[in-house]
């Protein structure tokens, strides 16, 4: 119960941070990414502030066995830089630059009631499901191949 309250209040603080910093305004995001135009460096300060605080928090948890309200840490352990990571990040970046919204600000901005934000979020959810469908399709396509390989290996 406590952990769920922490999640809820963290969500609130996260949203307020996005709103105060300017991340919920596509004009600021696009201005930040427009290096050859009228560059607005503001959003670099969002990363600076957030990374500074989070670095301290990360140092505090290193060496701890469990979080204060949970049984274990769920921290990504993968180290490999693969094609999917780079292709996915490139797709995400393209969408981010095109609309000026990334997932957090888009969800937060749903509260504004603006239809274009709702459209973006619906498309984003569709993109997530589409990725799930593609992944399952790839798994199905892999199966007969591996079965055939198994038969070939057995004979």
């Amino acid at each position: 119960m406590k952990a769920l309250l922490v999640s809820f209040f963290s969500g609130i603080v996260f949203a307020l941070g996005l709103g105060i910093s300017g991340m919920t305004r596509p004009i600021k995001v696009i201005g930040f990414l427009d290096f050859t135009g009228k560059w607005d460096a503001s959003l670099a300060f969002v990363m600076l502030g957030a990374i500074a605080v989070y670095s301290i928090a990360y140092r505090l948890v290193r060496g701890r066995r469990a979080p204060l309200l949970g049984e274990r840490f769920l921290i990504p352990e993968r180290m490999d830089i693969d094609r999917n990571l780079i292709a996915g990040a490139a797709m995400f970046g393209a969408g981010w630059g095109l609309a000026g919204f990334c997932p957090g600000p888009a969800i937060t901005s749903l509260a504004s009631g603006a239809a274009p934000v709702a459209l973006f979020v619906i498309a984003m959810v569709a993109g997530i499901y589409l990725h799930g469908a593609f992944t399952r399709l790839a798994e199905i396509r892999m199966r007969p191949v591996s079965a055939a390989a198994q038969i070939a290996a057995d004979s």
Binding site: P76, S112, G127
Partner: protein, 143 residues
């Protein structure tokens, strides 16, 4: 340079950092928004409720902004419905393929000095800048 707001942006960044830090220290979770959202869309037992609570918090915070800081939703640039649809699909698909977005890779992963996250962050910044260059300078902002 127009509308440079380093102080407000830094304060906002500190709040985002504090929120993500609370999720890590207290709950042991990474505050990666795309991952949190995807987890709610494909629910897994005992791993969904905290995600739903975080998203409810985001929306509640959004409502607070609407009431007390309405200029936060002064979007300024809103692309056409077609462009927003393509952008949303790219953001949804891309964040799943690449396992994260600005929060998970850009903040949490970069602060942990994860090589994967730093590579992802550099990639989405370059891709974002390339698209903004194309839209703002080649298409003169008409999209």
């Amino acid at each position: 340079m127009t509308n440079f707001t380093p102080v407000a942006s830094f304060i906002g960044g500190v709040l985002i950092g504090l929120s993500a830090a609370a999720m890590l220290l207290l709950n042991g979770k990474i505050a990666g928004i795309s991952g949190i959202l995807a987890g709610v869309l494909r629910p897994v037992k005992a791993d969904t409720l905290w995600r739903a609570c975080f998203l409810a918090g985001l929306l509640t915070g959004g409502l607070m902004l609407r009431a007390y800081l309405p200029q936060a939703f002064d979007f300024g640039t809103i692309r056409s419905p077609g462009a927003l649809t393509v952008a949303g699909l790219l953001v949804g698909f891309g964040t799943r393929l690449g396992n994260g977005c600005t929060s998970g890779h850009g903040i949490c992963g970069t602060a942990r000095l994860s090589g994967r996250s730093i590579a992802a962050t550099a990639t989405f910044m370059v891709a974002g800048a390339a698209v903004v260059y194309a839209v703002n300078h080649l298409l003169r902002g008409s999209l």
